[in-house]
Each structure stands twice: as C-alpha cells, then as structure tokens.
C-alpha cells in the first residue's frame, strides 16, 4: 500500500530566525484521509501546512505531494488560509473571490473564461452562497465568508484540501455546518485541517497529528496520552463542548 500515499513528509526540519520550529517530522497521508493537525500555538502547525503547500521551503528533509514537489502540484491543491491575512475592506464581490481560485499568477491580458464562471457558480451553489454572488465580501457574516473561501478552494476541483483554522471567526452552528460539509466532501477529496479546537477531532476526522516541534501521528480520531505529554497545551478546548464521543483515550491502568 506504499503507492497509495498522497502526502509524504520525510525527516522534515525547519527553523525560523535560528529558532527550530519543526524537528524531524515524518508524516504519510493516504487518499481520502481526513487529518486534523492539532497542537499548541506556536508549535508549528501552520508552518507545517505552509511547507506542504510550497509556501515555505524545508530546511532539511523532503515533502512530496501526489508524488511531486509541492510547488509543482499547486493547481491540484485547494487552500483555505486563515482569515487574518485577508484584506477585509477590499472592494470585491463574492463571485470574484471564488473566481480568484481559478486564476494563474504571472500576468497577461486575460479574462476569466466561461468555464471559469461555470465552475465558480457550481462551487458557490455547493456552498449555498450563489445568491450572495454580487455582494461585497465585507457585507457577509464570518460564517458566510468562510463558505466563500471554501468555494474558492473548491473551484479548481482539488484532490487535496488544506484548511488553516477554518472556524476561527465562525459561530458554533457555522462550525458544525462546515465540518458536516467537509465530511461529505471527504468522500472524494483528501482533507487536512489545522485546528486548535479539539472538538472537531472526535466527531469528524479520521486521523490526528499533534505538532509541537515534533509530530505524533495517530491513525484514529482520538488524542493519545503521548500527544498530551508532548504538548499539554493541546486539550484546552476539550472540556467545554460536552460531546458524547470520548476524545481522550482512557488510561491503560484504569
């Protein structure tokens, strides 16, 4: 089953301004996995995601996505960045944000094609946002904006979808809606979601990786004692949600 690896991270090291961020990270993700990357703030979750997207270059080690270097497969990868980086008062319509997902960088006097517009309509309809296509982004609620960003990532029909803290500015109902949708999408698309919110781990994902400089992978939707030991900042959100599913594994000696 070695061939079926869609993301292969081998002995990855990365440091920023001389500070080590990731130390010897290994990770294999299989097609149609739904991986949650959790860990404390500053533990390297987002860095790992950016390395997998080709936005950062590894210091040591290698990353292969669909058998190639991240930059080479960029058009086959969908990305929902954190909303902090978005220019909120920017004059842009919902439709145009989604069309941006079909663009290619590097200039040229070109316009979005008919096919681009059809794909954008499909993506917006899928996210139930088509009726807002003419609205300016700043007129939408946090949850609605997030749906548009997911539509923008889906419009290029990616094989892998990366999401960075997708529920940060979304209310509880919006969060649940988003994960229900992602679970459905997961039937055809491999999903990697970075989140500090552990409640998602139990209910929606298939595997968990906890990152705090090092990475611990667990091929089931639960957090192991080992993960807690490595980064006990992790379970911050554990208690508050009161979900019926057990997130923490019971202790062996009980």
């Amino acid at each position: 089953m070695i061939d079926s690896t869609i993301i292969e991270v081998r002995d990855l090291w990365f440091s920023f301004n001389g500070q080590p961020v990731l130390k010897g990270v290994n990770l294999s993700i299989h097609p149609r996995d739904f991986l949650a990357i959790i860990g404390p703030n500053g533990g390297g979750k987002t860095t790992l995601l950016k390395l997998m997207l080709g936005l950062l270059e590894p210091g040591q080690g290698s990353i292969k996505i669909l058998g190639q270097y991240p930059k080479e497969v960029a058009p086959r990868i969908g990305y929902v960045p954190q909303e902090i980086g978005v220019n909120k008062s920017f004059p842009i319509s919902v439709l145009h944000v989604v069309l941006m997902g079909r663009m290619r960088g590097g200039g040229g006097w070109w316009r979005f094609s008919k096919a681009d517009r059809t794909a954008a309509q499909k993506a917006l309809e899928r996210m139930e946002m088509w009726k807002y296509r003419k609205h300016r982004m700043e007129e939408l609620s946090g949850g609605q904006r997030q749906r548009v960003f997911v539509a923008r990532a889906l419009v290029a029909e990616p094989e892998i979808l990366f999401l960075d803290e997708p529920t940060a500015s979304v209310d509880t109902k919006g969060q649940a809606d988003l994960y229900i949708f992602l679970k459905e999408l997961n039937e055809t698309v491999t999903i990697v979601v970075v989140s500090h919110d552990l409640s998602v781990v139990s209910s929606y994902v298939k595997s968990v990786a906890c990152v705090n400089q090092q990475l611990i992978f667990h091929d089931a939707p639960e957090i192991t004692g080992e993960m807690l030991e490595m980064a006990y900042h992790c379970p911050v959100d554990l208690i508050a949600h009161g979900l019926p599913h057990r997130v923490l594994r019971t202790h062996e000696d009980q």
């Binding site: 960029a74 960045p81 920017f90 004059p91 842009i92 997902g101 960088g105 590097g106 040229g108």
Partner: protein, 272 residues
Amino acid sequence: MLEALQFEFMRNALFAGILASITCGVIGTFIVVNRMVFISGGIAHAAYGGVGLAFFFGLSPTLGILGFSLLVSVFMAAISFKAKHRADTIIGVLWAVGMALGILLLDVTPGYNVDLMSYLFGSILTVPTSDLWLMLVLNCLIVLTISYLYHDLAALSYDEEFARARGVPVKVIYFLLMAMIALSVVMIIQVVGLILIIALLTISPYIAEKFSRSLIEMMFYSVLLNFLFMLVGLWVSYSFNLTSGASIIMVGAVFFFISLILERLRPKRGIY
C-alpha cells in the same frame, strides 16, 4: 473658464491634470487598498533629493526626480517586504534624508535660482509641452503594466497567502508596484508638488472604495473624481488667483469631508 483655454498654459494645465488624474486614480487605488500611504509619502518627499542632485550635476530635474525616486522606491520595497512591522521607522528616516539631501545640494549649487516652491507645491500652470509628452509616456506605461498584472495585483492585495499559493510572483509584483508609485510621483510633482501628492493619491480612491464592487470600478471612479477635483480646482485657482495645487487639494478635501458625513448618515449595509 472656457475663455481661459485660449492660453496655451491653461490648455497644458488641463492636459497635465487629465494625465495626473488617470495615474493618481489607478495607482492611488492600490495605495489605499494596500495601506501604503505612508510609504508613498516617503517616496514623494525623498524625491526632493532628486531635485537637488539634478541641479547640482546640471541634469534635467525631471530626470533627477525619476532616477532618485525609483532608487528610493526599490530600497523601500526591499525593507518593507522583509520586515513589514519595522519598516515605518526606516521609511520615515528616508523621507527626511531625501529632503535634507535635496536642500543641502541646492545650497552648494552655485548660481542656484530655481523656484523651490514649484517642486514643493506644484506648478501646473507652467508645465511645458515637453513634460506633457513625458507624462503621456509614463501614463501609458503605468496603465499597460497595471492592466497586464491586474489579476495578480488584485489577488496580492486581497489575500497574499492565497495569491502565493496560486503562483502569483508576489515579490516581483510588489517591487513593480513600488516602482510605479515612484513613476507617478514624478508625474504628479509637476501638478501639485510633492507636499500635496498624498492627497491626490488617496482622497479619490478613499471615496471611491465606499461604493465600488471591484478594483476596476474603484479605479474608474477615482479617475473621474480626480478629474473633477482638477477641473474645479483649476477653475477656483483661475477665478480667485490662488495657488493651483493647493486649490485642487482643497476641492478634494471638501469632497472627502462630504463623503465622511454621508457615510455617517447612511445606514450600515449588511445582509444578516
């Protein structure tokens, strides 16, 4: 106003105004949405060093400003691209150093007797025809470059991370944008002078941003507004014998404050 157009200087002023309106509307849009007002101010003021250099070495002042502000813009781009948060101090220093350099060079230039004020406050009524041609060329260059890079610029301005992921060469485009700001500074110094450039680059895009649904619309309305400010400003300047650059800015300022008041009165848009 119409009878004023029989004078060549008035016709030239009008052409210069139209050309500057286009540049300011297009480039100003990117300055406003990317919050680069301070950096543009830095380039504009540091450009005075170019005036000093040109007079000291006996070159054409336009050429001096062009070369020097391009140099400064590349330098500022390099600083602000690397360390966005520490950049403002260095920009502030360059701002002052450029001006100081210009003043000192003019001090030591023998027989210097050029009207300093025209570079600080503009001299749209004395724009020579040769400068109009240069402005036209720069204008075409800027509009062509912006239209070529439109999608990249829009993506970069809206969501840099996502733009990178879509293969937008973010660094190159940022440097190009800074260079274009420098080019527009060269053009606009003629019209309103370097002290007042910021107003022309920012007032109209700021107003236009409120009712635009895309960058293109924002540019279009900014150009129209700038053109309006120019016309009314020139008319005020001609009728009441006032400094033209300052009159143009004052007209813009009136519109700016009206737009602020209207925004207060209008109910917040929203759909939820």
